[in-house]
């Protein structure tokens, strides 16, 4: 029998099992007696072994078999599920993952599978008390019992009327739908020129159908958040262990669907926020107890759907951030001037953490590195058409909230004219538009500013940023839109505001894709090409 035809299926299903194992291990660490999870772990290792045996991948069989046997011992009650078992299983997951990558690349590597299998077979837990230190007994508040972990779903195949489809095919469908939307605008233009009510009717009916088609096609691209969340569970676990902190990780909303493209771009930013929460936000147990908090900290990652947007929140009950300290640190580092510091609201002060080169950690640890990060996180979120919000209560913890669109390919954008060029800015990045009279402009130092809702907002010329000749504004009115750059509001002056438009975003190819500040291109209904600006990158 030619087994090569099963290779892709083997790889994809094996990875599903690995993900399930990793999730169950973390869940079991919080409630080690959960029989369902123990059974499920055993079955996953067993299935992996069977599949690998069919493909004749002996090393995968060896590792999976060892894991299965270990779980059999736990299942029979001969072994307790503790940190030692969890570590071994996660090591096995990584080992098989590496082996699968070898298989995928048709590569022969030497991996320590024998050694691993022997360690599994000979595993006996360390004497009690060494493995998991008890929390201090004299803590003023008892540690709340951990809630039941959510049961990780079993990997499922194509039963229940579903099929697996290649992702390229989905991208094709999105592309075609996008082109149809562009063409609809073209038809609308022609309809207007011809003044034909019948044509207009037909086009508006087509527009409705297209909207429905677009929504359905977009749904196909949605993947549950679950697809990426096992990484977070594992990284939080590893970080907590490394920094010697006691904490509980809670995850909700794993079933919520997000666009595949967005999901992929979220891994790094979320990992970073979680790292910060564990590494900087969370106090040591002793410090927590002294402050009257439970010894065990809580880090929560929650995903909720709010109409067509997704809200992802990372909350910790750690030490929180003090806006005044943030301002002092930023002034000390020369990121802002003392005068600028005085003007900042507490919310703006917290957003200082998103400025390049800013870090509030008292000391640099090898875990979160040297302050790289929140600026990159903010930029990544904005690139996806989302926003980042930070709230903090000193002493009680911090909350980072990412608000994101569910899908990305078709966006609403503000079209602006600068010189001879039309540019588009996603409306999610636009706070509001303003037509400013020249008299309202104040000059502070070298900067031009204006007053909006009592806040002094600096002005920037988009023409200047793009290297175009500056606008003249003969009637003394400057059109501008207000956006956020590096945590602060700025007014971006353009030649003309041309209105909102629905755009089908296409990524640029090389060499344009290498240019900073460009998010892609789109075609307007009349065939004109507009550049979509990535303001976070540009400013």
């Amino acid at each position: 029998m030619d087994m090569s035809q099963y290779k892709n299926l083997f790889l994809s299903e094996s990875r599903e099992y690995l993900r399930a194992i990793a999730e169950q291990v973390v869940a079991l660490e919080q409630s080690p007696a959960e029989k369902g999870a123990i059974d499920s772990l055993f079955r996953a290792a067993h299935s992996l072994k069977g599949m690998a045996a069919s493909m004749e991948y002996g090393e995968v069989v060896l590792v999976a078999h060892g894991m299965e046997d270990l779980m059999a011992r736990v299942r029979e009650g001969a072994l307790e599920f503790g940190a030692g078992v969890a570590d071994l299983l996660l090591e096995g997951v990584d080992l098989i993952d590496a082996l699968l990558a070898d298989v995928e690349a048709d590569r022969v590597e030497s991996r320590p599978t024998e050694d691993y299998a022997q360690r599994l077979a000979g595993y006996t837990p360390a004497p009690r008390g060494k493995e998991a230190p008890e929390p201090p007994r004299d803590s003023p508040k008892p540690t709340p019992a951990p809630p039941e972990p959510e049961k990780a779903k079993e990997p499922s195949g194509e039963t229940g009327g579903t099929v697996r489809v290649k992702t390229e095919l989905l991208d094709h469908l999105i592309n075609l739908t996008g082109e149809l939307v562009t063409n609809k605008h073209r038809l609308l233009n022609i309809g207007r020129e011809l003044g034909s009510p019948a044509l207009n009717d037909a086009v508006s009916e087509t527009a409705k159908l297209l909207r429905a088609l677009h929504d359905e096609v977009m749904k196909v691209r949605l993947m549950p958040f679950e697809a990426i969340c096992d990484r977070f569970q594992r990284s939080v676990r590893t970080l907590a262990k490394k920094s010697g902190k006691e904490l509980q990780f809670e995850l909700t909303g794993r079933e919520i669907g997000l666009d595949r493209g967005i999901l992929e771009q979220l891994v790094d930013p979320l990992n970073h926020i979680l790292r910060n929460a564990v590494d900087h936000g969370m106090e040591e147990s002793a410090e927590r107890v002294a402050a009257g908090k439970p010894a065990r900290g809580v880090v929560e990652l929650s995903v909720i759907r709010d109409r067509d947007r997704i809200q992802i929140r990372v909350r910790d009950d750690g030490r929180g951030m003090d806006p005044q300290k943030m301002i002092d640190a930023a002034v000390k580092k020369g990121v802002i001037t003392p005068e600028e510091g005085e003007l900042l609201s507490p919310r703006q002060a917290l957003m200082l953490s998103c400025m390049p080169g800013f870090s509030t950690a008292k000391e640099v640890t090898d875990i979160s590195g040297r302050g790289v990060g929140m600026d990159a996180v903010n930029a990544a979120v904005q690139k996806l058409g989302g926003t980042l919000g930070i709230e903090s209560d000193p002493g009680a913890g911090s909350t980072f909230t990412l608000r994101l669109p569910m899908t990305i390919a078709i966006i609403h954008a503000l079209i602006v004219q600068c010189g001879g060029v039309k540019n588009a800015v996603p409306v999610t990045a636009v706070h509001r538009t303003v037509e400013l009279s020249r008299r309202q402009i104040e000059t502070v130092g070298k900067r031009q500013t204006f007053l909006l809702d009592g806040e002094t907002i600096p002005l920037l010329s988009l023409n200047r940023v793009l290297g175009l000749p500056l606008g003249r504004f003969p009637d003394g009115i400057l059109p501008l839109f207000v956006t956020e750059a590096k945590g602060r509001r700025v007014g971006i002056v353009v030649d003309r505001l041309l209105g909102q438009h629905e755009l089908f975003v296409k990524p640029f190819g090389r060499p344009l894709s290498k240019m900073a500040g460009l998010a892609g291109g789109a075609t307007l209904g009349d065939g004109e090409v507009v550049t979509i600006l990535d303001l976070a990158d540009l400013l």
Binding site: L9, R43, S47, K49, G50, G157
Partner: protein, 121 residues
């Protein structure tokens, strides 16, 4: 008319392999199930001539599903799929009414022969 078969296994990979082997042999795959509970439901619905039943599965094991299928139809022809090392389970399965066993990893010729024998009674 072709002999109808229901394939039960929690692994899509395993189901696909068995489906290919059996289709090649001229069987008609009328149903597939990915856990024990689904297997019982689908058996009652489709009444296949033959059923291949994996042992280690979620939501009712293969043995539990076998017992329910046999209670529903004592004439059911069920072949258990098991891995090497699960010999201890074969007694329980035989007592519950399993007609034969096929071992994973599947050997296509062996699978074909076992199913033919069970089909012919």
């Amino acid at each position: 008319m072709a002999t109808t078969v229901m394939i039960v296994d929690d692994s899509l990979f395993m189901r696909k392999m068995l489906r290919d082997i059996l289709t090649e042999e001229g069987y008609e795959i009328t149903a597939e199930a990915s856990d024990g509970e689904e297997a019982v439901l689908k058996y009652k619905e489709c009444r296949p001539d033959l059923t291949t039943l994996d042992i280690v599965m979620p939501n009712k094991t293969g043995i539990e599903a076998l017992q329910e299928i046999m209670a529903f139809n004592p004439q059911a022809r069920v072949v258990m799929c098991s891995a090497i090392g699960q010999e201890s389970l074969t007694t329980a399965a035989t007592q519950a009414g399993a007609k034969a066993f096929i071992l994973k990893p599947f050997n296509p010729e062996l699978v074909a022969r076992v199913l033919r024998e069970v089909a012919e009674g």
